[in-house]
């Protein structure tokens, strides 16, 4: 596939695995849960959808998976229009729902085998064993689902979603209400699936996780996508460095020689607070310059606290900002 750099047609040779355009969902009560959403997901990526409760994350997933009937808009998966070729597309999509919805009396192994066959694949004991082992469910394969703990039930739901070997997997808050150990396992597993080339779209409340794992992040609120970006890009654009320098003796005002820094006094002049930079390290070098300038100005300090803003800060800022905008 020799592509010429100047050929505009080939600028995006990879067709998105999922293309949502103009998707709106108005529920029976009149509530607009999705408002003209456009979103494209690339093959093989791990996409994290962040948003407060009620933002429309579950509705968005439901619209793709056939649980929610879109009011308008189109969804294409693997190039198929879901309104027409839903069978072909659905056979390759897996869903782990937010709620722990399981049959009570069914044995674990049979539940997973059922999921595989329901999606039209031939029974495959070896494959089921592999899935159960990878989720530490093998020892429990004969147990009834009701005998499983909450965390184990969540694993089972993942096993069921993986049973038909989907190329596109939705995980709706996979780590909500799950203990630390299981959460770590879950992330290992998600990492492994992604290695295998499965495209993963997940929603989460734990922003650090999205920060660590996701290739791209989308922020949704009130049914609108506020921002979709490469995670590094988003950090660069919206990231900030914060530094608090504790002074040996308080200052009453900032000396003129330091005025060009983005700083202000706090705690009755006993500390200098810096906030600036862009998430690519510019802030840290400015803090270094600031400390040199402090010494040059004869200002002594006893400690420096420095931190980069997290995706969470960005997220909170962004959501709050839009909220105040909305009020005005």
């Amino acid at each position: 596939m020799a592509t010429k750099g100047n050929c505009a047609m080939n600028l995006s040779p990879m067709q998105p695995i999922l293309e949502i355009s103009g998707l709106t969902k108005r529920y029976a009560g009149g509530l607009v849960a999705l408002d003209n959403v456009d979103l494209a997901i690339n093959r093989g990526e791990l996409f994290a959808l962040l948003g407060p409760n009620g933002a429309g994350k579950t509705t968005l997933i439901g619209a793709v998976c056939g649980l929610v009937r879109p009011t308008s808009g189109t969804i294409r998966a693997f190039g198929h229009d879901l309104a027409k070729d839903w069978r072909t597309a659905r056979a390759r999509i897996g869903l782990v729902p937010q709620e722990l919805a399981t049959d009570m009396f069914e044995p674990v192994e049979r539940a997973v085998a059922y999921s595989r066959e329901l999606f039209g694949l031939a029974p495959d004991k070896a494959r089921i064993e592999e899935i159960l082992r990878s989720l530490s469910l093998w020892d429990k394969r004969k147990e009834r689902i009701m005998a499983l703990s909450g965390g184990m039930k969540r694993r089972l739901l993942i096993a069921k979603a993986l049973a038909h070997e989907p190329d596109l997997l939705f995980l709706d808050e996979p780590t909500a209400g799950v203990d630390v150990e299981l959460r770590r396992d879950m992330w290992k597993l998600i990492g492994a699936m992604r290695e295998r080339g499965v495209t993963i779209i997940l929603t989460t409340h734990y922003i650090e996780e999205a920060e660590e794992m996701a290739d791209r992040v989308g922020i949704i609120r009130n049914g609108r996508i506020l921002m979709v970006d490469d995670k590094a890009e988003m950090m660069k654009r919206l990231g900030r460095t914060e530094a608090v320098i504790s002074l040996a003796s308080p200052l009453s005002n900032i000396p003129a020689s330091l005025e060009h820094f983005a700083i202000h006094l706090e705690n009755a002049g006993s500390s200098i607070c810096y906030r600036g930079g862009d998430g690519t390290g510019k802030g840290r070098s400015e803090v270094a310059d600031l400390t040199k300038a402090l010494i040059a100005a004869g200002i002594d300090y006893t400690g420096i606290d420095i931190r980069e803003s997290s995706l969470e800060d960005i997220f909170v800022d962004l959501v709050e900002e839009r909220e105040t905008e909305g009020v005005q």
């Binding site: 529920y27 029976a28 439901g62 998976c65 056939g66 649980l67 929610v68 009937r69 839903w86 069978r87 072909t88 659905r90 056979a91 999509i93 869903l95 729902p97 709620e99 919805a101 399981t102 049959d103 009570m104 009396f105 069914e106 049979r110 059922y114 999921s115 066959e117 329901l118 999606f119 039209g120 694949l121 031939a122 069921k160």
Partner: protein, 255 residues
């Protein structure tokens, strides 16, 4: 039209397994009830009753009793089969699968109908312990039982989608099905009713079901077998049409 046989088979198998898990209760209760009916109506009261259309009273009530159990059990089995996944939320999997109305019906309704056939066999075997009877048209009897089982499985399926709580699920069988079956000539021939009740009784659709089955058993009935067969087929067609519409619109299934 695409039909995903593997998916339909998976649903069918799973539903039957669910039945086998509770086989003891599922079978014991109808067998017990039927036995009690035979003891009370067949043996105790029946011994003082004249033959009806050349059939002993105990034998006369067999098709009606079978219908009574068949309608109730089929409807409740089938309605629970689809209501429970809706109630627990596990229906998400079915809705997200490459499965349409045809696979769902073959799976759920086929399984419910199969259970009913098993049940019918057990009830007829139980009847043999109490009554000496022979079936005049065994082929038609089996066919008719299958037809009724399928129709009421479909009917139960609609009920299970319509119901949004357990009361609603139970109310149709309790309020309509059981009374209409009792009044539908299970224990008597509608000829025995005083005027004008014998005519009014003909407005009860269950009369045609009971009498249709009675014809296959003993070759005689209050109404013609053609009318019974036609009505049952019509009912089946209406149920299929309603379910097709439910799936097309996603009513009570997809939000």
């Amino acid at each position: 039209m695409t039909f995903n046989a593997r998916s339909a088979w998976a649903i069918y198998k799973r539903e039957l397994m669910r039945f086998l898990r509770t086989a003891f209760q599922s079978v014991l209760s109808p067998v017990l009830t039927t036995s009690l009916y035979f003891i009370v109506f067949g043996a105790a009261i029946g011994s003082r009753m004249p033959d009806l259309g050349g059939v002993s009273y105990a034998a006369f009530i067999i098709p009606g009793l079978l219908m009574l159990t068949l309608l109730g059990e089929t409807t409740s089995n089938s309605s629970f089969g689809i209501y429970m996944p809706r109630f627990t939320g596990t229906i998400y999997e079915l809705l997200s699968a490459p499965v349409g109305v045809a696979e769902t019906l073959v799976g759920f309704v086929g399984a419910a109908a199969t259970k009913s056939l098993i049940l019918a066999g057990i009830i007829l075997a139980t009847a043999m312990l109490f009554v000496d009877y022979t079936i005049a048209h065994p082929f038609w009897a089996i066919l008719y039982i299958m037809l009724v089982a399928s129709s009421f499985s479909l009917f139960g399926f609609i009920l299970g989608i319509w119901a949004d709580n357990f009361e609603k699920l139970g109310i149709i069988p309790m309020l309509f099905l059981t009374p209409l079956t009792f009044l539908g000539g299970t224990f008597y021939s509608i000829d025995m009713l005083p005027k004008p009740w014998d005519t009014i009784a003909l407005a009860n659709p269950i009369v045609y079901l009971v009498n249709g089955l009675r014809w296959t058993f003993y070759g005689t009935s209050d109404v013609s077998i053609g009318v019974s067969l036609g009505l049952t087929l019509g009912f089946l067609a209406i149920c299929v049409a309603i379910i097709a519409i439910i799936f097309k619109t996603g009513w009570r299934l997809r939000s």
